[in-house]
Protein backbone atom coordinates (compact mmCIF):
# COMPACT_ATOMS: atom_id res chain seq x y z
CA UNK A 1 0.00 0.00 0.00
CA UNK A 2 1.27 3.44 -0.99
CA UNK A 3 0.08 6.60 0.71
CA UNK A 4 1.02 9.97 -0.72
CA UNK A 5 -0.01 13.08 1.21
CA UNK A 6 0.47 16.60 -0.05
CA UNK A 7 3.51 15.68 -2.07
CA UNK A 8 5.25 18.66 -3.66
CA UNK A 9 8.53 18.29 -5.53
CA UNK A 10 10.81 21.02 -6.78
CA UNK A 11 13.94 20.69 -8.88
CA UNK A 12 16.55 23.23 -7.89
CA UNK A 13 18.47 24.95 -10.65
CA UNK A 14 21.27 27.52 -10.57
CA UNK A 15 19.18 30.38 -9.26
CA UNK A 16 15.58 29.31 -9.69
CA UNK A 17 13.61 26.12 -9.38
CA UNK A 18 11.12 24.04 -11.34
CA UNK A 19 7.92 22.96 -9.66
CA UNK A 20 7.40 19.41 -10.90
CA UNK A 21 4.61 18.09 -8.69
CA UNK A 22 2.18 20.05 -6.54
CA UNK A 23 0.12 18.72 -3.66
CA UNK A 24 -0.34 15.19 -4.85
CA UNK A 25 -2.67 13.08 -2.71
CA UNK A 26 -3.29 9.49 -3.55
CA UNK A 27 -3.43 6.04 -2.08
CA UNK A 28 -2.64 2.87 -3.94
CA UNK A 29 -4.01 -0.13 -2.02
CA UNK A 30 -1.81 -3.19 -1.71
CA UNK A 31 -1.84 -5.49 -4.70
CA UNK A 32 -3.42 -2.99 -7.07
CA UNK A 33 -2.24 -1.59 -10.38
CA UNK A 34 -2.74 2.12 -10.83
CA UNK A 35 -1.95 3.54 -14.23
CA UNK A 36 -0.79 7.14 -14.49
CA UNK A 37 -1.43 9.18 -17.55
CA UNK A 38 -0.66 12.82 -18.18
CA UNK A 39 0.95 15.18 -20.63
CA UNK A 40 4.66 15.09 -21.28
CA UNK A 41 6.62 16.89 -18.59
CA UNK A 42 3.87 16.80 -15.98
CA UNK A 43 5.96 15.02 -13.38
CA UNK A 44 5.16 11.33 -13.79
CA UNK A 45 8.77 10.20 -13.71
CA UNK A 46 9.36 12.53 -10.81
CA UNK A 47 6.62 10.76 -8.87
CA UNK A 48 8.30 7.42 -9.43
CA UNK A 49 11.64 8.88 -8.35
CA UNK A 50 10.03 9.86 -5.08
CA UNK A 51 8.46 6.44 -4.61
CA UNK A 52 11.72 4.67 -5.32
CA UNK A 53 13.76 6.79 -2.97
CA UNK A 54 15.83 8.44 -5.70
CA UNK A 55 14.47 11.89 -4.91
CA UNK A 56 14.58 12.50 -1.18
CA UNK A 57 14.11 16.22 -1.18
CA UNK A 58 10.36 16.81 -1.23
CA UNK A 59 7.63 18.16 1.00
CA UNK A 60 4.66 16.12 2.08
CA UNK A 61 4.46 12.54 3.28
CA UNK A 62 5.06 9.39 1.33
CA UNK A 63 4.54 6.04 3.02
CA UNK A 64 4.96 2.55 1.61
CA UNK A 65 3.22 -0.06 3.77
CA UNK A 66 3.02 2.64 6.48
CA UNK A 67 6.77 3.12 6.42
CA UNK A 68 8.74 6.00 4.98
CA UNK A 69 10.30 5.26 1.60
CA UNK A 70 13.51 3.32 2.08
CA UNK A 71 14.69 1.26 -0.88
CA UNK A 72 17.00 -0.61 1.49
CA UNK A 73 14.04 -2.10 3.33
CA UNK A 74 11.50 -2.23 0.56
CA UNK A 75 11.89 -4.37 -2.47
CA UNK A 76 11.30 -2.00 -5.32
CA UNK A 77 11.36 -3.00 -8.95
CA UNK A 78 11.80 0.02 -11.13
CA UNK A 79 11.78 0.26 -14.90
CA UNK A 80 13.18 3.63 -15.78
CA UNK A 81 12.16 5.67 -18.75
CA UNK A 82 15.73 5.51 -20.07
CA UNK A 83 16.06 1.88 -18.96
CA UNK A 84 18.80 2.47 -16.36
CA UNK A 85 21.14 -0.23 -17.64
CA UNK A 86 24.77 -0.30 -16.58
CA UNK A 87 26.77 0.18 -19.78
CA UNK A 88 29.70 -1.78 -18.33
CA UNK A 89 27.64 -4.87 -17.59
CA UNK A 90 26.40 -7.29 -20.20
CA UNK A 91 22.77 -8.30 -20.50
CA UNK A 92 23.08 -11.19 -18.10
CA UNK A 93 24.78 -9.13 -15.45
CA UNK A 94 22.27 -6.33 -15.92
CA UNK A 95 19.38 -8.72 -15.57
CA UNK A 96 20.61 -10.25 -12.31
CA UNK A 97 21.70 -6.89 -10.90
CA UNK A 98 18.53 -6.58 -8.82
CA UNK A 99 18.75 -9.95 -7.15
CA UNK A 100 22.50 -9.54 -6.74
CA UNK A 101 22.02 -6.33 -4.79
CA UNK A 102 19.03 -7.51 -2.83
CA UNK A 103 19.83 -11.17 -2.16
CA UNK A 104 23.43 -11.62 -3.24
CA UNK A 105 22.03 -13.95 -5.91
CA UNK A 106 24.01 -13.81 -9.16
CA UNK A 107 22.35 -16.83 -10.77
CA UNK A 108 19.23 -16.94 -12.83
CA UNK A 109 16.70 -19.40 -11.46
CA UNK A 110 14.10 -21.12 -13.55
CA UNK A 111 11.70 -18.24 -13.24
CA UNK A 112 14.39 -15.87 -14.46
CA UNK A 113 15.06 -18.11 -17.42
CA UNK A 114 11.35 -18.16 -18.18
CA UNK A 115 11.14 -14.37 -18.09
CA UNK A 116 14.12 -13.99 -20.41
CA UNK A 117 12.55 -16.37 -22.87
CA UNK A 118 9.21 -14.63 -22.71
CA UNK A 119 10.93 -11.31 -23.34
CA UNK A 120 12.90 -12.78 -26.20
CA UNK A 121 16.30 -11.67 -24.91
CA UNK A 122 17.67 -15.04 -23.85
CA UNK A 123 19.99 -15.12 -26.84
CA UNK A 124 21.55 -11.74 -26.06
CA UNK A 125 23.04 -12.53 -22.67
CA UNK A 126 26.63 -11.64 -23.49
CA UNK A 127 25.88 -8.37 -25.27
CA UNK A 128 26.67 -5.01 -23.76
CA UNK A 129 23.83 -2.46 -23.75
CA UNK A 130 25.33 -0.43 -26.57
CA UNK A 131 25.09 -3.53 -28.77
CA UNK A 132 21.32 -3.73 -28.36
CA UNK A 133 18.47 -2.04 -30.13
CA UNK A 134 16.30 0.36 -28.16
CA UNK A 135 13.54 -2.18 -27.64
CA UNK A 136 16.00 -4.85 -26.59
CA UNK A 137 17.44 -2.53 -23.98
CA UNK A 138 13.99 -1.85 -22.66
CA UNK A 139 13.27 -5.54 -22.40
CA UNK A 140 16.44 -6.04 -20.38
CA UNK A 141 15.18 -3.43 -17.94
CA UNK A 142 11.81 -5.17 -17.77
CA UNK A 143 13.49 -8.49 -17.13
CA UNK A 144 15.56 -7.06 -14.31
CA UNK A 145 12.56 -5.73 -12.45
CA UNK A 146 10.42 -8.82 -12.98
CA UNK A 147 13.13 -11.22 -11.89
CA UNK A 148 13.58 -9.24 -8.70
CA UNK A 149 10.03 -10.30 -7.68
CA UNK A 150 9.48 -6.93 -6.04
CA UNK A 151 6.90 -5.90 -3.46
CA UNK A 152 6.44 -2.65 -5.31
CA UNK A 153 6.70 -2.28 -9.06
CA UNK A 154 7.31 1.13 -10.58
CA UNK A 155 7.10 1.16 -14.36
CA UNK A 156 7.86 4.29 -16.36
CA UNK A 157 6.51 3.78 -19.88
CA UNK A 158 7.94 0.28 -19.86
CA UNK A 159 6.75 -0.71 -23.32
CA UNK A 160 7.32 2.55 -25.18
CA UNK A 161 10.08 1.18 -27.38
CA UNK A 162 8.32 -2.06 -28.32
CA UNK A 163 6.41 -2.79 -31.49
CA UNK A 164 2.66 -3.21 -31.30
CA UNK A 165 2.68 -6.98 -31.13
CA UNK A 166 5.51 -7.36 -28.64
CA UNK A 167 3.85 -4.72 -26.59
CA UNK A 168 0.68 -6.73 -26.31
CA UNK A 169 2.65 -9.82 -25.40
CA UNK A 170 4.50 -7.91 -22.71
CA UNK A 171 1.23 -6.59 -21.34
CA UNK A 172 0.02 -10.16 -21.02
CA UNK A 173 3.26 -11.21 -19.41
CA UNK A 174 2.97 -8.35 -16.96
CA UNK A 175 -0.61 -9.22 -16.05
CA UNK A 176 0.36 -12.87 -15.65
CA UNK A 177 3.17 -12.17 -13.23
CA UNK A 178 1.01 -9.63 -11.47
CA UNK A 179 -1.70 -12.20 -10.97
CA UNK A 180 0.82 -14.62 -9.53
CA UNK A 181 2.56 -12.25 -7.15
CA UNK A 182 0.00 -9.53 -6.70
CA UNK A 183 2.52 -6.71 -6.74
CA UNK A 184 1.41 -3.19 -5.94
CA UNK A 185 2.18 -1.35 -9.14
CA UNK A 186 2.42 2.22 -10.33
CA UNK A 187 2.39 2.14 -14.11
CA UNK A 188 3.09 5.19 -16.22
CA UNK A 189 1.90 5.13 -19.78
CA UNK A 190 1.18 7.46 -22.65
CA UNK A 191 -1.34 5.18 -24.22
CA UNK A 192 -4.94 5.57 -23.12
CA UNK A 193 -5.50 2.08 -24.34
CA UNK A 194 -2.75 0.66 -22.17
CA UNK A 195 -3.95 2.63 -19.17
CA UNK A 196 -7.37 1.11 -19.56
CA UNK A 197 -6.11 -2.36 -20.14
CA UNK A 198 -3.76 -2.54 -17.20
CA UNK A 199 -5.00 -0.22 -14.48
CA UNK A 200 -7.60 -0.93 -11.86
CA UNK A 201 -7.69 2.81 -11.47
CA UNK A 202 -6.43 5.44 -13.82
CA UNK A 203 -4.79 8.56 -12.43
CA UNK A 204 -4.91 11.51 -14.77
CA UNK A 205 -2.40 14.27 -14.16
CA UNK A 206 -2.48 17.89 -15.27
CA UNK A 207 0.31 19.57 -17.22
CA UNK A 208 3.32 20.84 -15.28
CA UNK A 209 3.29 21.38 -12.38
CA UNK A 210 1.57 18.06 -12.08
CA UNK A 211 -1.55 17.85 -9.98
CA UNK A 212 -4.09 15.05 -9.94
CA UNK A 213 -7.00 15.90 -12.20
CA UNK A 214 -9.01 12.81 -11.52
CA UNK A 215 -8.67 9.25 -10.29
CA UNK A 216 -10.93 7.18 -12.49
CA UNK A 217 -12.33 3.77 -11.57
CA UNK A 218 -11.74 1.49 -14.51
CA UNK A 219 -14.55 -0.88 -15.31
CA UNK A 220 -12.59 -2.26 -18.24
CA UNK A 221 -9.90 -3.75 -16.03
CA UNK A 222 -9.75 -7.54 -16.29
CA UNK A 223 -12.44 -7.41 -18.92
CA UNK A 224 -12.28 -10.03 -21.62
CA UNK A 225 -11.86 -8.61 -25.11
CA UNK A 226 -11.82 -5.14 -23.70
CA UNK A 227 -11.52 -3.37 -26.98
CA UNK A 228 -14.76 -4.80 -28.26
CA UNK A 229 -16.84 -3.55 -25.33
CA UNK A 230 -18.80 -0.33 -25.25
CA UNK A 231 -17.35 0.62 -21.88
CA UNK A 232 -13.97 0.86 -23.50
CA UNK A 233 -15.03 3.62 -25.83
CA UNK A 234 -16.80 5.52 -23.11
CA UNK A 235 -13.78 5.32 -20.83
CA UNK A 236 -11.38 6.15 -23.59
CA UNK A 237 -13.37 9.23 -24.48
CA UNK A 238 -13.69 10.22 -20.84
CA UNK A 239 -9.95 10.05 -20.20
CA UNK A 240 -9.24 12.04 -23.29
CA UNK A 241 -11.70 14.66 -22.14
CA UNK A 242 -10.08 14.93 -18.73
CA UNK A 243 -6.67 15.18 -20.31
CA UNK A 244 -7.85 17.81 -22.75
CA UNK A 245 -9.65 19.81 -20.11
CA UNK A 246 -6.47 19.87 -18.05
CA UNK A 247 -4.59 21.80 -20.69
Amino acid sequence: MIEIKDLTVKYLRQDDFVLALERINIEIPAGQIYTFIGPSGCGKSTLLYVLSGIIKDYTGRVLINSQPVDPKKQRIGMIMQNYGLMPWRNVYQNVVLGTKIKDGQRRLDEYGQYILEQLGIDHLLDRYPKELSGGQQQRVAIARSFILKPDLLLMDEPFSALDAISREEMQELFLDTWKQHNVTTAFITHSVDEALYLGSKIVVLSPAPGTILEVIDNPCFKMEDMRLQDDYYDMSARIRKVLDKGR
Binding site: Y49, G53, P71, G84, M86, R89, Y128
Partner: protein, 246 residues
Amino acid sequence: MSSNGKWQGALYGFGLVIILWQAVAWLLKIPIIPTPGAVFVNIADIFANQMQVHVVSSLGRILKGIFIAIGLGVPLGFLMGYFEKLDKIFSPLVYFTYPIPKIALLPIVMLLFGLGEASKLIMIVLIVIFQIIITSRDAVKNIPAQVFRSLQSLGAGRWQMFREIIIPASLAEVLTATRLALGTAVSVLFFTETFGTEYGMGYFIMDAWMRVNYLDMYAGIVVLSFMGFCLFIVVDIAEKYYCSWR
Protein backbone atom coordinates in the same frame (compact mmCIF):
# COMPACT_ATOMS: atom_id res chain seq x y z
CA MET B 1 42.93 -1.47 -33.13
CA SER B 2 44.52 -4.60 -34.42
CA SER B 3 47.56 -5.54 -32.40
CA ASN B 4 49.35 -5.77 -35.69
CA GLY B 5 48.60 -2.13 -36.51
CA LYS B 6 49.68 -1.26 -33.02
CA TRP B 7 53.10 -2.74 -33.47
CA GLN B 8 53.44 -1.14 -36.83
CA GLY B 9 52.60 2.20 -35.26
CA ALA B 10 55.15 1.58 -32.55
CA LEU B 11 57.75 0.94 -35.21
CA TYR B 12 56.89 4.16 -37.00
CA GLY B 13 57.01 6.08 -33.73
CA PHE B 14 60.28 4.51 -32.78
CA GLY B 15 61.70 5.18 -36.21
CA LEU B 16 60.68 8.80 -35.98
CA VAL B 17 62.51 9.23 -32.69
CA ILE B 18 65.61 7.61 -34.11
CA ILE B 19 65.57 9.74 -37.24
CA LEU B 20 65.08 12.94 -35.27
CA TRP B 21 67.83 11.98 -32.89
CA GLN B 22 70.19 11.00 -35.70
CA ALA B 23 69.50 14.30 -37.43
CA VAL B 24 70.25 16.33 -34.32
CA ALA B 25 73.35 14.28 -33.64
CA TRP B 26 74.67 14.83 -37.15
CA LEU B 27 73.81 18.49 -37.16
CA LEU B 28 75.52 19.29 -33.90
CA LYS B 29 78.32 16.74 -33.92
CA ILE B 30 79.22 17.05 -30.26
CA PRO B 31 79.74 14.32 -27.70
CA ILE B 32 76.69 15.51 -25.72
CA ILE B 33 74.50 13.98 -28.39
CA PRO B 34 75.96 10.68 -29.49
CA THR B 35 74.41 9.02 -32.51
CA PRO B 36 71.70 6.42 -31.93
CA GLY B 37 73.89 3.83 -33.58
CA ALA B 38 76.71 4.36 -31.12
CA VAL B 39 74.27 4.23 -28.23
CA PHE B 40 72.68 0.99 -29.36
CA VAL B 41 76.07 -0.60 -29.84
CA ASN B 42 76.91 0.53 -26.35
CA ILE B 43 73.70 -0.95 -24.97
CA ALA B 44 74.52 -4.25 -26.60
CA ASP B 45 77.96 -4.05 -25.03
CA ILE B 46 77.02 -3.22 -21.49
CA PHE B 47 73.46 -4.42 -21.03
CA ALA B 48 74.07 -7.94 -19.88
CA ASN B 49 76.90 -7.38 -17.47
CA GLN B 50 76.36 -3.82 -16.33
CA MET B 51 72.86 -2.58 -16.81
CA GLN B 52 70.69 -5.57 -16.09
CA VAL B 53 71.05 -5.33 -12.36
CA HIS B 54 70.09 -1.66 -12.48
CA VAL B 55 67.03 -2.38 -14.60
CA VAL B 56 65.87 -5.06 -12.23
CA SER B 57 66.18 -2.93 -9.12
CA SER B 58 64.47 0.04 -10.72
CA LEU B 59 61.66 -2.05 -12.09
CA GLY B 60 61.05 -3.53 -8.68
CA ARG B 61 60.94 -0.11 -7.07
CA ILE B 62 58.59 1.30 -9.68
CA LEU B 63 56.17 -1.58 -9.50
CA LYS B 64 56.11 -1.57 -5.73
CA GLY B 65 55.76 2.20 -5.63
CA ILE B 66 52.95 2.23 -8.17
CA PHE B 67 51.07 -0.55 -6.43
CA ILE B 68 51.26 1.22 -3.12
CA ALA B 69 50.31 4.55 -4.66
CA ILE B 70 47.34 3.04 -6.48
CA GLY B 71 46.32 1.01 -3.47
CA LEU B 72 46.17 4.13 -1.33
CA GLY B 73 45.39 6.82 -3.88
CA VAL B 74 42.54 5.28 -5.84
CA PRO B 75 40.37 4.43 -2.82
CA LEU B 76 41.04 7.84 -1.32
CA GLY B 77 40.23 9.56 -4.61
CA PHE B 78 37.08 7.51 -5.01
CA LEU B 79 35.94 8.35 -1.51
CA MET B 80 36.65 12.02 -2.09
CA GLY B 81 34.74 11.93 -5.34
CA TYR B 82 31.75 10.19 -3.82
CA PHE B 83 31.43 11.80 -0.40
CA GLU B 84 31.33 15.53 -0.76
CA LYS B 85 32.23 16.07 2.88
CA LEU B 86 35.43 14.11 2.58
CA ASP B 87 36.25 16.03 -0.55
CA LYS B 88 35.80 19.35 1.19
CA ILE B 89 38.38 18.41 3.78
CA PHE B 90 40.83 16.39 1.74
CA SER B 91 40.87 18.41 -1.46
CA PRO B 92 42.44 21.47 0.16
CA LEU B 93 44.91 19.13 1.81
CA VAL B 94 45.83 17.65 -1.53
CA TYR B 95 45.90 21.08 -3.11
CA PHE B 96 48.33 22.24 -0.44
CA THR B 97 50.61 19.25 -0.50
CA TYR B 98 50.69 18.39 -4.19
CA PRO B 99 52.78 21.43 -5.20
CA ILE B 100 55.39 20.82 -2.49
CA PRO B 101 58.60 19.82 -4.23
CA LYS B 102 58.90 16.34 -2.81
CA ILE B 103 62.66 16.37 -3.22
CA ALA B 104 62.76 19.03 -0.56
CA LEU B 105 61.24 16.46 1.77
CA LEU B 106 63.96 13.96 0.93
CA PRO B 107 66.10 14.72 3.98
CA ILE B 108 63.11 14.35 6.27
CA VAL B 109 62.04 11.10 4.68
CA MET B 110 65.59 9.84 5.00
CA LEU B 111 65.79 10.85 8.63
CA LEU B 112 62.49 9.15 9.41
CA PHE B 113 62.84 6.04 7.30
CA GLY B 114 66.56 5.56 6.91
CA LEU B 115 68.69 5.31 3.84
CA GLY B 116 67.27 2.02 2.64
CA GLU B 117 64.59 0.85 0.25
CA ALA B 118 61.74 2.22 2.37
CA SER B 119 62.71 5.83 1.77
CA LYS B 120 62.94 5.32 -1.96
CA LEU B 121 59.54 3.71 -2.12
CA ILE B 122 58.09 6.47 -0.02
CA MET B 123 59.53 9.09 -2.32
CA ILE B 124 58.00 7.42 -5.37
CA VAL B 125 54.66 7.10 -3.62
CA LEU B 126 54.78 10.70 -2.41
CA ILE B 127 55.43 11.94 -5.91
CA VAL B 128 52.88 9.94 -7.87
CA ILE B 129 50.04 9.52 -5.39
CA PHE B 130 48.70 13.03 -5.92
CA GLN B 131 48.11 12.49 -9.61
CA ILE B 132 46.29 9.30 -8.79
CA ILE B 133 44.15 10.88 -6.09
CA ILE B 134 43.14 13.82 -8.24
CA THR B 135 42.39 11.76 -11.33
CA SER B 136 40.30 9.19 -9.47
CA ARG B 137 38.45 11.88 -7.60
CA ASP B 138 37.63 13.77 -10.78
CA ALA B 139 36.63 10.56 -12.54
CA VAL B 140 34.04 9.80 -9.87
CA LYS B 141 32.79 13.37 -9.85
CA ASN B 142 32.23 13.20 -13.59
CA ILE B 143 29.88 10.23 -13.42
CA PRO B 144 26.43 11.61 -14.32
CA ALA B 145 24.03 11.47 -11.37
CA GLN B 146 21.45 9.50 -13.32
CA VAL B 147 23.72 6.48 -13.62
CA PHE B 148 23.24 5.96 -9.90
CA ARG B 149 19.46 5.91 -10.07
CA SER B 150 18.89 2.23 -10.79
CA LEU B 151 21.01 1.25 -7.86
CA GLN B 152 19.44 3.83 -5.59
CA SER B 153 16.03 2.39 -6.31
CA LEU B 154 17.42 -1.03 -5.42
CA GLY B 155 18.62 0.32 -2.10
CA ALA B 156 22.22 -0.52 -2.85
CA GLY B 157 24.65 0.04 -0.02
CA ARG B 158 27.77 2.13 -0.36
CA TRP B 159 30.06 -0.75 -1.12
CA GLN B 160 27.66 -1.93 -3.79
CA MET B 161 27.64 1.54 -5.34
CA PHE B 162 31.40 1.38 -5.50
CA ARG B 163 31.50 -2.08 -6.97
CA GLU B 164 28.71 -1.72 -9.47
CA ILE B 165 29.19 1.84 -10.64
CA ILE B 166 32.13 3.80 -9.34
CA ILE B 167 34.81 1.25 -10.01
CA PRO B 168 33.71 0.21 -13.50
CA ALA B 169 32.78 3.75 -14.53
CA SER B 170 36.13 5.14 -13.42
CA LEU B 171 38.33 2.30 -14.52
CA ALA B 172 39.40 3.96 -17.74
CA GLU B 173 40.42 7.10 -15.88
CA VAL B 174 42.24 5.07 -13.25
CA LEU B 175 44.19 3.44 -16.05
CA THR B 176 44.97 6.88 -17.42
CA ALA B 177 46.19 7.82 -13.97
CA THR B 178 48.27 4.66 -13.87
CA ARG B 179 49.89 5.66 -17.13
CA LEU B 180 50.72 9.07 -15.76
CA ALA B 181 51.99 7.59 -12.54
CA LEU B 182 54.18 5.12 -14.40
CA GLY B 183 55.69 7.80 -16.59
CA THR B 184 56.33 10.02 -13.63
CA ALA B 185 57.69 7.21 -11.48
CA VAL B 186 60.15 6.20 -14.17
CA SER B 187 61.31 9.72 -14.69
CA VAL B 188 61.76 10.50 -11.01
CA LEU B 189 63.93 7.45 -10.47
CA PHE B 190 66.54 10.00 -11.13
CA PHE B 191 65.99 11.68 -7.81
CA THR B 192 64.89 8.75 -5.77
CA GLU B 193 67.93 6.70 -6.58
CA THR B 194 70.55 9.29 -5.80
CA PHE B 195 71.11 8.18 -2.24
CA GLY B 196 71.96 5.06 -0.33
CA THR B 197 72.12 2.82 -3.36
CA GLU B 198 74.37 1.97 -6.22
CA TYR B 199 71.74 0.08 -8.12
CA GLY B 200 68.96 1.42 -10.26
CA MET B 201 68.69 3.12 -13.61
CA GLY B 202 68.44 6.50 -11.92
CA TYR B 203 71.79 5.94 -10.27
CA PHE B 204 73.23 4.57 -13.47
CA ILE B 205 72.23 7.56 -15.57
CA MET B 206 73.20 10.12 -12.96
CA ASP B 207 76.57 8.45 -12.50
CA ALA B 208 77.18 8.30 -16.23
CA TRP B 209 76.28 11.95 -16.52
CA MET B 210 78.70 12.84 -13.79
CA ARG B 211 81.37 10.79 -15.42
CA VAL B 212 80.66 12.75 -18.62
CA ASN B 213 80.06 9.43 -20.26
CA TYR B 214 77.29 10.43 -22.58
CA LEU B 215 77.27 7.08 -24.31
CA ASP B 216 76.45 5.31 -21.08
CA MET B 217 74.04 8.04 -20.10
CA TYR B 218 72.10 7.73 -23.32
CA ALA B 219 72.20 3.99 -23.12
CA GLY B 220 70.60 4.31 -19.70
CA ILE B 221 67.99 6.73 -20.99
CA VAL B 222 67.10 4.49 -23.90
CA VAL B 223 66.76 1.46 -21.67
CA LEU B 224 64.70 3.47 -19.23
CA SER B 225 62.36 4.67 -21.98
CA PHE B 226 62.02 1.18 -23.23
CA MET B 227 61.17 0.00 -19.75
CA GLY B 228 58.55 2.73 -19.51
CA PHE B 229 57.22 1.85 -22.93
CA CYS B 230 56.73 -1.77 -21.90
CA LEU B 231 54.91 -0.74 -18.76
CA PHE B 232 52.64 1.50 -20.84
CA ILE B 233 51.86 -1.35 -23.17
CA VAL B 234 50.88 -3.50 -20.21
CA VAL B 235 48.42 -0.80 -19.16
CA ASP B 236 47.06 -0.59 -22.70
CA ILE B 237 46.46 -4.31 -22.73
CA ALA B 238 44.73 -4.12 -19.35
CA GLU B 239 42.51 -1.36 -20.71
CA LYS B 240 41.56 -3.32 -23.77
CA TYR B 241 40.61 -6.20 -21.55
CA TYR B 242 38.74 -4.40 -18.80
CA CYS B 243 37.07 -1.64 -20.77
CA SER B 244 35.71 -3.75 -23.58
CA TRP B 245 32.22 -2.50 -22.83
CA ARG B 246 32.94 0.91 -24.27
